[in-house]
Amino acid sequence: MSTATVSRPRPGPRRGRIKIGRWTINLRDRDTVVYLAIFIGALAFPTVADFVTGGQGGPIVLLAADAGVYVLLALGLNVVVGFAGLLDLGYAAFFAIGAYTYALAASGALFHTPLHHAIHIPFWLLLIVGVVIAASAGALLGAPTLRLRGDYLAIVTLGFGEIVPRVFRNAGDWTGGVNGLSALDNPVLPYWLDGPWAGVGEQFGIVKNLVFSVANPTAWYVLMFILICISVVLLNNLRKSRLGRAWMAIREDETAAQAMGINTVTTKLLAFAMGAATSGFAGCFYGAKLSLVSPENFQFQVSITILVMIVLGGMGSMPGVIVGGLTIYLVLFKILPDAPNQVHSLLATTGFTGIDQPHGDWPGLGEFVSRLKFLLFGLILVGTMLLRPGGLIPSRAEIDVERAAKETAGLEGAAG
């Protein structure tokens, strides 16, 4: 076989491409466009939020930072479910492990444990520690599931998802039991960043005013933005690598993958570990921002919510998962909780206050909507899946099937 230059099929016109140094941005590629739109949108978001609300954008920006936690989690679970095809119903366990790692190592909590010594490791270091611990936990909990496929795997992971929060709840000596751990450290920028100038005057700092507190939502938002960017770049690199292909091969046909020389044991463990690592990121951020972790925050419902984000966004499609995560978060934590109040004010301004008054069995429209929250959520899910069965932004596999089938027919016709 010769190693001469290989002619690539369809070189085609190169319009719609922007070159920046070594990178080329192809504006005809759907994923690139979606990434770019999200990136620019996310950059502009705090300013826009402030502008629209007349300087009161704080709570919305904070909400967006919280949504980022779920986006991170969805990106991580997507590695396990979307890439490697391993249905994991207990993903919140790794989120819990990341968050508790932060809580124990960055607060006075360990002082009240048999260790009798508080540890205060800086947030930035703990991000890495949290990732390593969560990844190890992922590999550890993944190991017993290796021989299982499909439904059986789902049931076992479901078990892990139940066990881990329960362990945290019952190991009261270490984890504060039901009440959880509170008063966790806030991240502080390293000395060299806000630097020796910090005392001299704000105008000299490289990063001004980036203090992580409830009063400063932008700081959290920026941090989350950076974490998501890092995760997206790293996971996208993985997706296109030898390992990413091995994951997909296992998802498509495990026996054939083995016959092609893929070690399914290590490949699956790496999928669990990489998925868990991302949730380690999310867990650290979550603990630091809320300054509180409790077993109640890592219930089964969290696992399911994340899974819903992936399925609704488009399994295996990273831009889809990001959009799905943001959409579900918005619906679940903003639109639905606000709906009753919106209904109240709408009825008040339009004059239909009669419907809003409770009489007899009728609780009033606002209260009625509030009771139907989860029915509405379900309807939104069913509606979306009916309209877009592959998810909001399906992975290429879903969209290309029909088109390629047509092309194949054309080629065959031309050949015959």
Binding site: A259, G261, D400
Partner: protein, 267 residues
Amino acid sequence: MSSVAPNGKNILEIRKVTKQFGGLVAVDAVEFAVRRGEIFALIGPNGAGKTTLFNCITGIYPPTLGSIVFNGNDISGSRPHKVAQLGIARTFQNIRLFPFMTALDNVKVGQHVRMHAKLWDAMLKTPLERREEARVRDRAYELLRYVGIERFADYYARNLPYGQQRRLEVARALATNPQLLLLDEPAAGFTPQEKVELMKLVEKIVSDGITVFLIEHDMKVVMSISKRICVLDHGEEIALGPPETVRSNQRVIEAYLGSGAGHSGTS
């Protein structure tokens, strides 16, 4: 046994291999050797245990008794990915491609065992990883051209026409850089024209120094391309030798046409 020639000459030796599923003996003390550089065929009626033997060789399940020796190393009971690493590649009777991956990616997966990039290389896109990816991509196009389906590189495997899927499976197997290629009924469902093309492809592969061991039902294909043939019936080895001897073997004729046909043929 006379059939087992000394090492070096034989790339694969099947030594008294038996595979039982509960009470069913699928392969019964089969013994033969595949010589380096030849086209060896395994034939037999349906349910004779041909694919079971393939699965034993590639490590999908271990043989109950006996041993399988590849290049002088005992590989019986090795895990499938180890077997692939050692240099045995295979295709499947019922095509098992990765349907929602492009043809190109299917072939790239085949090169998995010959790649060295670690997790960190992949995450951070190190120069080593970039070079390797470029090499793998070029090699994948080369293999797609080799089997004649380069124009389908960007298609999902499931969208390829049937014949091209079989070819893609061969390309994917070749991507593992094997010394021995196992083809499980490569011509199944082919038109006579496609069968001729397939035979050409198999001969091309052998001329490139890869030993081919195939299961095939089509007698015309088997008799014309294979150097030696082993015939299984109900898990038992009933004949072994060059096509001419096997063709005239009484037990083979009986196995294929029924014992009555054998007698009427001779009387």
